[in-house]
């Protein structure tokens, strides 16, 4: 019994740390090799406080978590500033682990390499279990909040995340801090359970266990790492003699999983009726292994190795299969019942929530705004100044001049087309305008303000949205979530509220965001697909989703980069209607790059033609179609030349 308790408590402790790593590596996509160091920071802080200063457990744990967070920011800030490369963070966490070990070994306070023995055993199976459940609950809430969505978006596609105004550094640091806090909590609990800590405990081995748990469990799931970490704690206990081989196994598993099944056990799923049998199978395997090992130990001495092995294998297999069927049976049983259970529970919950809302109504945000958004000031077509003004824009890459002195004015409410042969600089103009590339010379002015030097996220939040030639969606999120993520400026709540999901602040906001997202999906006629995973959508619909997402930021100017790419004539027509619709309804100004001439000619008020990075013509569609320079740029010139000698 005590043995089982020990296994359970250890599992719970490591699961807490694994949850943190799951959020950081699994969801945000950043690789940390030093989470053991964050555990160490929490462990030592909490232990020192209870041991030397006789603090009670809870404040000690909390301070340990705070120290872990601070420590993680020291590692995170320099490395996360380098965009789009996670190698630096990995190297820094490795280096940091070493550095921390040295510090711990040499400080008097931590008693050096000998460690701290005799810590009070303040942690046991019960309070650890409570902490574990609390952790899982908070993580789940976090991932469903605006903060969580932003972090998942960064993990899916950081470039697209920036293009909807999500700043990488603060959000990545938030993810790091949160995961370090959980590691610190885990460390503190560990210290007060095993009552003796030394720097050697918080080694690469520990980080490897956590990493293996998250990777094998599935990057993008919470259930997966819980199951895998528990497995990695429980199973080696059964095979005590093979302690070192356990680590070899973790390493091998990492290689095998990455090569053969990168999504691990659970991929992006959580526990549901569909994969319930799988969970039972895993439990069955573990129990089967345990029983098999027990049988082997008991019977092999008498009956011999081979018969003992055979019996163990047979019994183990039977247990596994039995559990698998039990799981399937349970799933079948629950399937018709669960929706009803869910609905009843939900109704009851709603009643309680409304009670609270009644009590706390002064704090409630104005509920009447569900769905509606304050109308923006009318775009005045007869305005005095252009909305976007480009003057003398120049950009070169190495020796190649991509944009060579382009002037363009876009007036509010216009739809302007930007056309030109391949390589004429059109996408570069977009990239310069949205701040993706720095401008070499020239000026881009939006609403009278200069855009030069602003980071892409500021430009997006200032009212310019864009879509990409190669669609960049958050493919593992649902269609609805893609749009909801982009609504992060439309409604927000504090971090604490996100963790706890107070029904009276978080729910109205989430509902409002959801309604607004559905409204936007309605504009592009995608409501029916709201809960489909975005990556499974056909191409034309993915394009529409990208537009809906861009609209979520309430832009004044929408830049569309080849929206009709890869579409057949019918789809192109639908697109033209869509753009016309959103142009009117949302009072947008649109600039679009396109090669499908039917789209351009039917849609645009004015067209600018680029060639070799210069603007060679500008005018109405009719003017452009009859302009000989344009014809030449596209179809090529009949050049009179002397034959080469």
């Amino acid at each position: 019994m005590a043995y089982a308790q020990a296994i359970f408590t250890n599992s719970a402790i490591y699961i807490i740390a694994a949850m943190g790593l799951a959020i950081f590596t699994g969801y945000t996509g950043l690789f940390s090799l030093g989470h053991a160091a964050f555990m160490a920071a929490g462990a030592y802080t909490a232990a020192i406080l209870t041991y030397f200063y006789h603090w009670p457990l809870l404040p000690a744990l909390l301070l340990g978590m705070i120290v872990s967070v601070l420590v993680s920011l020291v590692v995170g800030y320099p490395t996360l500033r380098v965009k789009l490369r996670s190698d630096y963070l990995a190297i820094a966490t490795l280096g940091f682990g070493e550095a921390l070990k040295v510090i711990l070994e040499n400080l008097d306070l931590t008693q050096g390499a000998r460690g701290l023995p005799g810590i009070q055993k303040l942690a046991g199976p019960i309070n650890t279990a409570v902490w574990m459940v609390l952790t899982i609950w908070v993580c789940r809430n976090f991932l469903r909040s605006t903060y969580g969505r932003k972090i998942i978006a960064i993990g899916q596609d950081p470039v697209a995340a920036e293009m909807i105004g999500i700043r990488l550094l603060p959000n990545q640091m938030l993810s790091l801090g949160f995961s370090a806090a959980l590691a610190g909590l885990s460390g503190g609990l560990l210290a007060h359970y095993v009552t003796f800590i030394q720097p050697a405990i918080f080694s690469m081995d520990l980080s490897s266990l956590l990493t293996a748990g998250v990777v094998c469990g599935g990057m993008g799931s919470l259930t997966g790492p819980i199951v895998a970490t528990a497995l990695f704690v429980v199973v080696p206990e059964l095979f005590r003699g093979l302690a070192l081989w356990r680590l070899v196994l973790y390493g091998v598993l990492l290689v095998v999983i990455m090569n053969l099944r990168p999504k691990g056990l659970y991929g992006h799923e959580e526990l549901n009726l569909g994969n319930l049998p799988k969970l039972f199978l895993i439990i069955g395997l573990t129990v089967g292994l345990t029983i098999g090992a027990g049988i082997y130990n008991d019977y092999a001495p008498e009956w011999g190795t081979v018969p003992g092995l055979l019996l163990a294998a047979v019994v183990g297999l039977m247990v596994t299969v039995a559990m698998n069927y039990a799981g399937r049976g349970l799933a079948r049983l629950l399937r018709p019942v669960l929706p009803h259970l869910g609905a009843t529970w939900y109704r009851g919950f709603n009643r309680i929530v409304r009670l609270f809302e009644g009590l706390f109504s002064p704090r409630e945000r104005t509920a009447g705004t569900a769905g509606a958004v304050a109308p923006r000031p009318q775009a005045n077509v007869a305005a005095a100044k252009p909305l976007l003004s480009i003057r003398g824009l120049r950009k070169h890459f190495g020796g190649v001049i991509a944009v060579d002195g382009v002037d363009l004015d876009v007036w509010p409410g216009q739809i302007v087309g930007l056309i030109g042969p391949n390589g004429s600089g059109k996408t570069t103009v977009f990239n310069l305008t949205s701040g993706v590339y720095p401008i070499d010379s020239g000026a881009v002015t939006f609403e009278g303000r200069a855009l030069a030097g602003q980071p892409p996220t500021s430009i997006v939040l200032g009212g310019i949205s864009r879509t990409f030639q190669n669609i960049r969606l958050f493919s593992s999120m649902t269609v609805l979530e893609n749009v909801q993520t982009a609504l992060h400026t439309a409604g927000d709540y504090g971090l604490l509220a996100a963790f706890v999901q107070w029904p009276w602040t978080v729910r109205p906001t989430e509902e409002r965001l959801r309604a607004r997202a559905m409204e936007l999906l309605g504009v592009v006629e995608l409501q029916a697909f709201a809960d489909r995973v975005a990556g499974t959508l056909p191409y034309g619909l993915q394009r529409k989703l990208e537009i809906a997402r861009a609209l979520a930021l309430q832009p004044k100017l929408l830049l569309l980069d080849e929206p009709a790419a890869g579409m057949n004539p019918q789809e192109s027509l639908d697109l033209v209607e869509l753009i016309k619709r959103i142009h009117e309804r949302m009072q947008l100004t649109v600039v679009l790059i396109e090669h499908h001439m039917d789209v351009v000619m039917n849609l645009c008020d004015r067209i600018a033609v680029l060639n070799f990075g210069k603007k060679i013509a500008e005018g109405t569609p009719d003017e452009i179609q009859s302009n000989p320079l344009v014809l030449e740029a596209y179809l090529g010139q009949k050049v009179e030349y002397a034959p080469q000698g």
Partner: protein, 250 residues
């Protein structure tokens, strides 16, 4: 037939059907052209021919033998690609770029002869032999890219938008070189947005539209076709006309 492509299909991921039942042929010794707007699938087709992309279905037969999607085998069989936007190695010299073109060959004499040949086509490369490829101008880079491909002494030379980003007079030079290379016996398949020039010099031509071959004929025939003109510049047409006439002529 030197190259025969039969009902080639390629998908990007699950959803994007980039090449739809593409079928065409190129006879030995001729210049063939495939024209189409951006996004029509021209580069996708080139990459599939050279073995970088694996088609979902369909066959590619070169010199009587079926081709497998392994790039270095394509060169070994005698296909060379001059890719879109050149893709030279800017950190290597002109000489080193050419050496890589002839990577698979070990016949020193043959290589030297071919080097002379490409210098006769593009004398500027001899002048800049030891300079870094990144310092060349756009036109010179195009010439180097073609020369690099020629160094493998290919039977079939694939060229992806050779006129991209080049001033008109340079385009003329490049197309002169293309015709000279053809005269020396190399079969060529061009894909181009610059329809006029490509159609002028090609014996056989195809129009690719949203992944499908929609028109074929001789270069001259296609030059005169109103559909080709419309495909490029579009006419303000009513909805029904677009759908009806569309791009379904075959």
């Amino acid at each position: 037939m030197l190259l025969r492509v039969d009902r080639l299909n390629y998908y990007y991921g699950e959803a994007i059907h980039a090449l739809r039942d593409v079928s065409f042929e190129v006879e030995e010794g001729e210049i063939a052209a495939i024209i189409g707007a951006n996004g029509a699938g021209k580069s996708t087709l080139m990459w599939t021919l050279v073995g970088l992309l694996k088609p979902k279905s369909g066959t590619i037969t070169f010199n009587g033998r079926p081709m497998k999607p392994i790039p270095h085998q394509a060169v070994a069989s005698g296909i060379a690609l001059v890719p879109e936007r050149r893709r030279l190695f800017p950190n290597l010299t002109v000489r080193e770029n050419l050496t890589l073109g002839g990577y698979r060959r070990s016949d020193k004499a043959g290589l030297a002869k071919d080097e002379d040949y490409v210098f006769s086509l593009f004398p500027v490369l001899r002048e800049r032999f030891t300079q870094f490829a990144g310092t060349l101008s756009g036109g010179q880079q195009q010439m180097l890219a073609i020369a690099r491909a020629l160094m493998s002494r290919p039977k079939l030379l694939l060229m992806d938008e050779p006129s991209l980003g080049l001033a008109p007079v340079l385009v003329g030079q490049v197309f002169d070189a293309i015709q000279e290379i053809a005269r020396q016996g190399t079969t060529m398949l061009l894909v181009e947005q610059n329809a006029l020039k490509a159609l002028e010099i090609s014996r056989r031509a195809y129009v690719l539209e949203v992944g499908r071959i929609v028109l074929q004929g001789t270069g001259k025939e296609l030059l005169r076709s109103p559909i080709v003109q419309a495909a490029y510049l579009g006419v303000r047409q009513r909805k029904e006309v677009i759908l009806e006439e569309g791009f379904h002529a075959h």
